[in-house]
């Protein structure tokens, strides 16, 4: 019989809240984490709003000593704080660095979409261009290497199994969770810290602004800017932050009496090959549907069993296409369609962190039995009007929810889908 994998701990640093309790309260209340960013105005960005975790410098300082803080940039900070929170939430202690014990059974897969761009822009480029390369010191490599987040987390936890960082654009966070799921299923690790993070910097967001895919019409009303599923959606709002989940072999979790949030019963990743309507920036619908069907098949469920969808849903032209892809993949019509929501309506699009933060939202909702409102879509897009009653406009108590599907799609035509199931003792 296949090894079963459960979620036993979570940590989240989102634009609308840090920490699980605050995050639950924020998503239940439909609290937006989107704010006006004066720096973006000064730099003449079209989009001058973004989702950035609040007071995070202070939060970071309360977690790490001075030595570590010197080499923890935005991206690594969100990842590290989330990992420490998740680890403790799962019932583990942080061992001191004097303790030489290595936990050979725990690994880390922590990804980013773009990564340490603030360090590159603010330190590496100006210092090298001034001819002062020597003054870079010892701390920039560990902050800009693609595996900077997982490397830092491994050091904090003493994790000695596979430690790596994945990257698949906006699918990164989901992909990390799915890769971790497989590693545990294969019997190669007992538990994995899995998730994603993304820094908050104009140097990450500038390229998207130049592509004109960011929201430009709500600079004077930031909380209304992120409008997935809406007729007046006009591009995504960039976000940042991080989240980590502790995935654990069911047997190990039960043996130590761990609190179980949910079971991960299915996962699938693929790519549309940038064919059949897919491109570097647009998904091949066939790839999306195959990915969703692949996750459902891996979960061994009937598509009719899916109670809710936490979509990718970014607030671009692609949202109505996504809804139709879900309907076709799950063979559901507007009448028997599952509930569908976008966590991005509250936090913006957190890029490499999106899948991880939104998976925390999905798991919290199935654990507590509710669906958060998908805000800013009172004017549902006309192409999906028939599905309007399936989009929660207010927080919905839904204790009978058993299965929620979480998807993420990214540049490069990459797709990912996870199936979470409510944990029931028997």
């Amino acid at each position: 019989m296949r090894t079963r994998v459960v979620v036993t701990g979570m940590g989240v640093a989102a634009p609308n809240a840090h920490g699980l309790e605050n995050f639950e309260q924020a998503i239940r209340g439909g609290v937006s984490g989107i704010r006006f960013i004066p720096q973006l105005q000064e730099l003449n960005f079209g989009c001058q709003i973004a989702g950035v975790p609040e007071n995070f410098d202070d939060i970071r300082k309360s977690y790490f000593d001075r030595e570590k803080l010197l080499s923890i940039n935005d991206n690594i900070g969100y990842a590290s704080v989330s990992a420490v929170d998740a680890w403790k939430d799962a019932g583990f202690e942080l061992n001191s660095e004097d303790d030489d014990t290595v936990d050979w059974d725990t690994g880390v897969i922590a990804g980013s979409g773009i990564g340490g761009m603030d360090t590159i822009a603010n330190i590496i480029v100006p210092v090298i261009n001034e001819g002062k390369v020597r003054r870079l010191g010892s701390r920039v490599v560990e902050q800009v290497m693609s595996s900077g987040t997982s490397a830092r987390i491994s050091g904090l936890l003493g994790a000695g199994n596979k430690v790596t960082s994945n990257s698949s654009a906006c699918s990164t966070g989901n992909e990390a969770i799915i890769d971790a799921l497989w590693r545990i299923r294969m019997g190669l690790a007992k538990r994995m810290v899995a998730g994603g993070s993304e820094g908050a910097t104009p140097y990450i967001w500038g390229g998207f602004d130049a592509m004109r895919v960011l929201c430009r019409k709500f600079n004077d009303n930031p909380p209304a800017g992120s409008r997935p599923l809406s007729a007046t959606a006009c591009g995504f709002v960039p976000g940042s932050g991080g989240a980590m989940l502790i995935l654990e072999e069911l047997e190990t979790a039960l043996a130590r009496g761990a609190r179980i949030y949910a079971e991960i019963i299915g996962g699938y990743v693929n790519c549309g090959g940038q064919r059949m309507g897919g491109s570097m920036t647009a998904p091949n619908p066939e790839g999306v549907k195959r990915c969703i069907r692949g996750a459902v098949a891996d979960a061994g469920i009937d598509p009719a069993q899916v109670d809710a969808i936490n979509g990718h849903l970014t607030a671009t032209y692609a949202d109505p296409h996504e809804v139709r892809n879900w309907a076709e993949a799950l063979e559901r019509n507007p009448e028997n369609f599952p509930y569908i929501q976008s966590t991005k309506s509250l936090i913006g699009h957190c890029l490499g962190a999106a899948g991880a933060i939104e998976s925390v939202a999905a798991v919290l909702q199935i654990y507590k039995g509710f669906l958060h409102p998908s805000i800013n879509c009172e004017d549902v897009h006309p192409d999906i009007e028939k599905y309007a009653q399936k989009i929660p406009q207010k927080c919905l108590e839904f204790p009978q929810m058993k299965i929620i599907a979480k998807a993420g799609f990214g540049f490069g035509d990459v797709n990912s889908c996870i199936i979470f199931k409510k944990w029931e003792e028997k």
């Binding site: 001075r66 030595e67 010197l70 660095e97 020597r134 003054r135 010191g137 010892s138 701390r139």
Partner: protein
């Protein structure tokens, strides 16, 4: 500038880098920066940069390579300051 003052400043410079914080309080000129204070060897370049900034001096790579103890650093700084 006398050695005692430079020594005291060196302790401040080393503070964020030393894993063995307790020893900083009783360190001497013979205290080994890597072995005793448990400074990560990769961070020595950051210690040198900090010394250069604090004293407005330049320490070349050969000189930096010779620094083992707090005293080694103090003597190089003192010599540079004339």
């Amino acid at each position: 500038m006398d050695e005692k003052k430079i020594f005291e400043e060196m302790i401040n410079i080393l503070r964020p880098f030393a894993k063995n914080q307790d020893l900083l309080e009783t360190a001497t000129m013979d205290t080994h920066i890597l072995n005793d204070l448990k400074v990560n060897s990769a961070r020595l370049v950051d210690v040198i940069i900090k010394c250069e900034d604090v004293y407005d001096i330049s320490v070349d790579d050969d000189e930096a390579d010779k620094i083992r103890t707090i005293g080694d650093a103090v003597r190089i700084i003192k010599q540079k300051l004339g």
